[in-house]
Subunit: 139 residues, 3 copies
């Protein structure tokens, strides 16, 4: 058994879910592993990771609508507003979703379910450069 | 160090938390590993995984009551309703809980805390067949 | 590739986020690994783990304010109140955050982002002794 590491860099342009399933697949292919475990880790606290349905785009719209209602920008509850009204909401949204994900590798591929995709969830409105670290263990 | 893979298949009959702690224990026993790390991955976006108290059944009742209030079925906020009023709420509930879990293996067993159990959280009302992939690393 | 295991014990004195980044760093240093994957697992269902910003203390204050509003103590929705008004809210807060985290190890260190820290989130008001299991895979 061996391990390989990598990185996925994503330029975001505003708050939304970015499908990174293809980038994830490319990292596994590059490893050459047939069986193993892939771990993704995002090095930010205002963007996060999420496994979600990637078939109907409406799911992405509704997901954002839900989080927007649950953690509204400019909520007077928050005192940490140094970077704007979406600053603290971005940290809360990250806490409610995932900073890391592990996905089994089977037959040389990420063993996602039929309707699953891997998403980077950008919670800030300003464009950002986001880094997702990749660790793959396998053989 | 070696790895083994497996699968836990669960037939669900409506929305609730299903205790899969025994199935998890059986997978570790089958591996023969004394020390390692077990990862579980659910291949769905309308059912999820959760570590929760498995001593008092009221905890399961209350957990469902909370999620039912936070993400109500038939919420007019949602446009993705193709599979019914519990379709999009199931995706949101999955996003708020876990698609995967990793649990240390010590002394040949899942190193769960005294009151912890492993649960599959079915968020749909219709009966479903759910697949949880198992990856165990250890020796 | 090898694995090492360890444990971080934290004495908590009331509900708040406890920064355990230094304890995490010490565990990696002790392993001697330069490259790998560290997994943390908390053996409780009323305390959890969270990656969060550790630069501005106001973020911790606001995070707690958000969870306090979302899952209020003494909510009449709950029937599981055997250990008090913060009992069931602690379980829900744990479900909404993390029971485990995996963080890549690079250059002999946890590959945290610039503003990231690792926190134990105590959800009970009474002092508690909390156990976080450590599994590090690497070389």
């Amino acid at each position: 058994m061996q391990q390989v590491t990598g990185k996925i860099s994503i330029t975001t342009h505003g708050r939304k879910l970015y499908d990174i399933t293809a980038e994830v697949a490319a990292q596994i292919k590059r490893s050459g592993f047939q069986t193993g475990l892939m771990s993704l880790y995002i090095q930010h606290t205002s963007a996060s990771l999420l496994i979600n349905e990637n078939y109907d785009h409406d799911v992405l719209v509704d997901m954002e609508a839900f989080f927007n209602r649950l953690v509204p920008d400019g909520d007077p509850l928050f005192i940490h507003t140094v970077e704007g009204p979406d600053d603290m909401p971005a940290h809360v949204r990250s806490a409610l979703t995932q900073t890391h994900l592990s996905i089994p590798v089977l037959d040389g591929k990420a063993a996602l379910g039929q309707w699953q995709g891997v998403f980077l969830y950008e919670h800030r409105h300003v464009p950002s450069q986001r880094q997702v670290l990749v660790h793959i263990l396998g053989e």
